[in-house]
């Protein structure tokens, strides 16, 4: 039973995308197209209630494209969901190695902005946060309970880590001097 729950949670986005798509098609074919495109945001709401996860900018773009081209949005959405599930699996591995009180605040850099994760990690360090990549190949960062970046977290395991330099000093450009630590 535990394995089944873990499998469902690990593939949550694919399952929800498929379910959302089927529901959307059903509603569109019954002449309720607007109701159809509203299905996916409803699943995001459920995710937010269940585990605090929010839709990324890419999710929003795919949802918006649903208004224009349903087949393309379905294919793109399905591929995006598969990527999200892979990220969630790797994120769970990283969280498992960190103290439980911190683990839930560790997030994938993939969702921080529209740039690639490696660039998002640099942006996070420049903004006063700690970002790192582990042996599983996923860039992650950590926030506090109020979603603010944490400057001095030291993960148990990392390959490369970016973080602001002490003493913390905001530069005229708006960022912080930051450093690279490699293991």
């Amino acid at each position: 039973m535990g394995d089944a729950v873990a499998t469902i949670h690990g593939n949550k986005n694919v399952i929800q995308t498929t379910g959302g798509t089927i529901a959307s098609i059903g509603l569109e074919q019954s002449g309720k197209k607007i109701a159809g495109v509203l299905v996916t945001p409803a699943t995001w709401t459920l995710n937010y209630v269940a585990d605090g996860s929010k839709p990324s900018a890419v999710d929003l773009g795919i949802w918006a494209s649903g208004f224009l081209s349903a087949p393309a949005a379905i294919v793109t959405g399905f591929l995006k969901a598969a990527v999200d599930d892979d990220i969630n699996r790797k994120l769970a591995l990283i969280q498992a190695k960190e103290p439980s009180k911190s683990a839930r605040f560790i997030k994938a850099c993939y969702n921080f902005g529209a740039a690639p994760p490696a660039i998002n990690a640099m942006t996070i360090a420049n903004s006063g946060g700690t970002a790192w990549i582990t042996s599983v190949g996923l860039w992650v960062y950590i926030t506090d309970a109020r979603d603010r970046l944490v400057a001095d977290y030291v993960p148990k395991e990392f390959v490369t880590l970016y973080r602001p330099c002490k003493p913390y000093r905001a530069l005229s450009t708006g960022g912080f001097d930051w450093e690279v630590i490699r293991k």
């Binding site: 087949p71 393309a72 379905i74 902005g113 690639p116 660039i119 942006t123 970016y162 450009t173 960022g175």
Partner: protein
């Protein structure tokens, strides 16, 4: 609907198979990291380069880049962060950033030679 999905996938695979690779000449000449390299090279070749502080050089380059690149361009976002990164690591960071954006073989001699001299001095 299933037929439509399969058709879309087949078309996407065919287009991908017939397209040139990411490292083809057409894509490496005009990507945003090449624009960054071009502007960086112009800065280092300017007469006043040696007279300016590393922060002033960064300020001038930022002015040039903000006119040449969109704020959402990966190269511009990377530059905004890396200018405050460790001077000795900057070239590797630019290369990492370019690689993450799909430009695996991006090179820029001017950045390699002067990257540590443009940005925060890390006092």
């Amino acid at each position: 609907m299933i037929k439509n999905i399969i058709s879309c996938l087949l078309i996407a695979i065919s287009v991908s198979a017939c397209s040139p690779g990411k490292d083809s000449e057409a894509q490496t000449i005009n990507n945003d990291f090449d624009v960054f390299c071009e502007q960086f090279t112009l800065l280092t070749e300017s007469a006043e380069f040696s007279q300016l502080s590393s922060e002033d050089r960064a300020s001038r380059l930022d002015t040039k880049l903000s006119g040449a690149l969109a704020p959402s361009a990966n190269a511009y976002i990377a530059w905004t962060a890396i200018r405050n990164g460790p001077p000795s690591e900057r070239y590797f960071l630019y290369k990492d950033a370019a690689s993450s954006a799909g430009h695996n073989h991006w090179e820029c001699p001017a950045v390699k030679q002067h990257g540590h001299e443009v940005g925060s001095p890390h006092r």
